[in-house]
Symmetry: C2
Subunit: 443 residues, 2 copies
């Protein structure tokens, strides 16, 4: 009867009270509310919206449906980064060990790729032996020992969110700002953080392409964090083209390792440093963003950051040799260059088309139960704004076989648009959002 009543109320634009959110989340997690009732409720919530208090109550309800990572015994700050997702976004793999090597604890819980976007867990699992399915106890032990852990949402963390998220994915109720914000924050707050940095992607390849909605999402999450004593800072970054050059799980691990050695592509390094600076300042380890950046450069040049990644890999059962020799990673059977079909300006490198190309190659998912091939993907060296000659190599295709190479060629012909003129791409980092409001980045 509870579910029926709450569906009616939300359907008619009414308000669901905190105790009711709690009861609904618990009943659904326990299997007492059937999926079809929750699906109807979620569609009503999607279309009618949630007010600030409801978003907050839903966050608490999902957080309270499971366990949390109690890290209160640590004196060190615990700061995580969350990205709304994109193509070529391997920042977490660089950032987590880099920031952890500077004394801020990073208890990072990530997701898998779905649709055109990639996922950190899939990337990590490209490393032979790497396990992401740790229990909370094992994660806590690793944090004590290494200061960093890279895991998936365990069954113990926010089980109501886990179940609701899967249902939203199947019922076209994903792109709702209050539902997204509550889902992310219920998991992040379960990590026992003292601070959180958000990378909100904007542009054609982002989950929410419009800047206005990105800022709304950032502000909603910042408020949820602030109300619970967890300061949140958000940067809005470009996802109108892939980040870095590598797109595909093993290829991205290789690029992330290069970045940890100071050899990453400039856009990847800049986004990593910008997010890392926020984490180090939030964590109280650096007084300013400039100081933080210098600390990160030293951590990289000294080898400390790469070494931290090696220790994380080792602790999670992976082959740490990958950091010294990326050939340890599984390798694609077939690879081939992709050449510019004409002379002109690279107008666009469309992330969705690249992401769909990875799926077509077997390296992504359309359903959660799909297996992914870690070896396939693209390394795209061309960037929007580059001038190219006909026949000039713009990318390398990594596939399972000849047929895959053809699939990859077709995908890149769609993804990489060459024209005589083009609008400039979005600024790499455009806005910074804090509790005090929105500012243009760098101002």
């Amino acid at each position: 009867m509870l579910a029926q009543r709450l569906i009616e109320r939300k359907r008619d634009g009414g308000r669901v009270e905190p105790g009711e959110w709690r009861a609904l989340a618990h009943a659904y997690a326990a299997g007492h509310v059937p999926d079809y009732q929750m699906a109807a409720f979620l569609m009503a919530a999607y279309l009618r919206g949630l007010d600030r208090g409801e978003t907050s109550a839903l966050t608490d309800a999902m957080l309270g449906s499971g366990s949390t990572l109690d890290l209160s015994h640590l004196s060190a700050a615990r700061v995580d980064k969350h990205s709304t997702g994109g193509v070529g976004d391997k920042v977490s793999l660089v950032l987590a060990p880099l920031v952890a090597s500077l004394g801020v604890v990073v208890p990072m819980m990530s997701g898998r790729g779905l649709g055109h976007t990639g996922g950190t867990l899939d990337k990590l699992e490209a490393i032979p032996g790497f396990r992401t399915d740790l229990t909370l106890d094992a994660a806590r032990a690793q944090i004590d020992a290494v200061g960093c852990v890279l895991i998936g949402q365990t069954a113990e963390i926010a089980p109501a969110d886990r179940k609701i998220y899967a249902l939203r994915d199947a019922t076209a109720t994903v792109e709702s700002i209050p539902l997204i914000a509550a889902s992310i924050m219920s998991k992040k707050l379960a990590e026992g953080l003292t601070g959180l940095v958000l990378d909100v992607k904007r542009g054609s390849g982002a989950f929410l392409p419009e800047l206005e909605r990105d800022l709304e999402l950032a502000e909603t999450m910042i408020r949820l964090g602030a109300d619970r004593g967890c300061p949140v800072v958000a940067l809005v970054t470009a996802m109108d083209r892939p980040l870095g050059r590598a797109c595909g799980n093993a290829l991205e691990v290789e690029e992330a390792i290069a970045a940890l050695k100071g050899e990453g592509p400039p856009d990847l390094m800049n986004v990593t440093y910008a997010l890392g600076a926020e984490m180090l300042v939030l964590g109280g380890v650096a007084p300013t963003a400039d100081a933080a950046r210098r600390m990160m450069e030293v951590a990289i040049s000294s080898g400390r950051a790469a070494e931290k990644f090696q220790r994380v890999i080792e602790a999670q059962g992976g082959n740490p040799g990958v950091v010294d020799d990326p050939a340890v990673l599984p390798q694609a059977r077939a690879c081939e260059l992709f050449a510019a079909p004409r002379r002109g300006l690279v107008a666009r490198v469309e992330p969705k088309a690249v992401g769909r190309g990875i799926i077509a190659l077997g390296g992504g998912r359309t359903r959660m139960e799909d297996a992914v091939d870690p070896t396939v993907g693209f390394v795209i060296t061309a960037k929007p704004g580059d001038w190219v000659e006909a026949g000039e190599p713009l990318a390398t295709i990594f596939a399972r076989d000849r047929a895959g190479v053809e699939v990859g060629q077709a995908a890149l012909r769609t993804a990489i648009v060459i024209a005589d003129e083009a609008d400039p791409p979005l600024p790499l980092i455009s806005h910074r959002v804090t509790e005090r409001g929105v500012e243009r980045y760098g101002d």
Copy 2:
């Protein structure tokens, strides 16, 4: 993938095309679309609405998901009546045999009671032995032999509607005019009708209390019928008080039998005659409503109408002796008068409170799987507008035991409101709606 795409489209206010409605209805009926996806779709449809073409396509899709009653071999007209439901509404039990006794075939498919409203099937099953679960073949044979059959929606008729209706009931997506209209019309069109009369209830005890929405529903169904060569006429009748005096399954059968002998309460007779006149004119058996009414009076006074009911009962396995001796019906163990608690004007006899009282006595359902006790209920002789003295009997309570009598007393204390003055009740029959438009009844 189809369901996901259609959920998204409807969620965003888009249009679902005829072929897509058909595919969705078939896939859902076949179990290829899970309940949770259909639930999200229905909530989106509820909140975003369906346009005229979509409502029409959904009707066809649900109709086409199953078999139909092919009655084209009959030269006689086939006309049914559908009511949107209320309390004390036993009109079908009187009307079907009455109209059939005058040469119009009545292939009537009815539903069960749910919530505060009663259902024709539950009433019929109060007659010992009466079976409502006939196959389409058995129904067709009975129509040939008797000219009238009173059954439930068989598994063969509109299975997509059957499944969708059950889901709507559990997901607060019932009160949507396009969804209601398509659901009713898909079943009615499956009866092979040449005409249909609608009794659209209005007022506090109706499914859609507001006149404006009642007229919209009537117009939607009239259009759906007209587009398919089945003329539909609707009367809007009062459901701000129970119809007739008896409320409860066996009690209503007894009152219906009295009505078939010309001894029904005036409001029940008037609604029956008004709906019957429309059926007889639509069926081409009477030239005018006045002529139809005279024919019905003769059918009743001559005993032909009651005799037709007897034949229907016999054909469906029931004890036909009930028509001559209502004591054949199961009888309540305990009964007691309900007296006016004060002197004054009967301001209201609230149908919802009466209906809930019947549920409390064990004679109604809150869930489809509940069993009903046919014996319990009320006979309420007081009508809004009556002047009553303190202690005057207003009703009789029929219950299983002493405790039930107390429950019934409490229900009637809530339902029957006595005051010093009161607004007049709604006109018994207020509007008549046809393809040509809406007119005040009697004008």
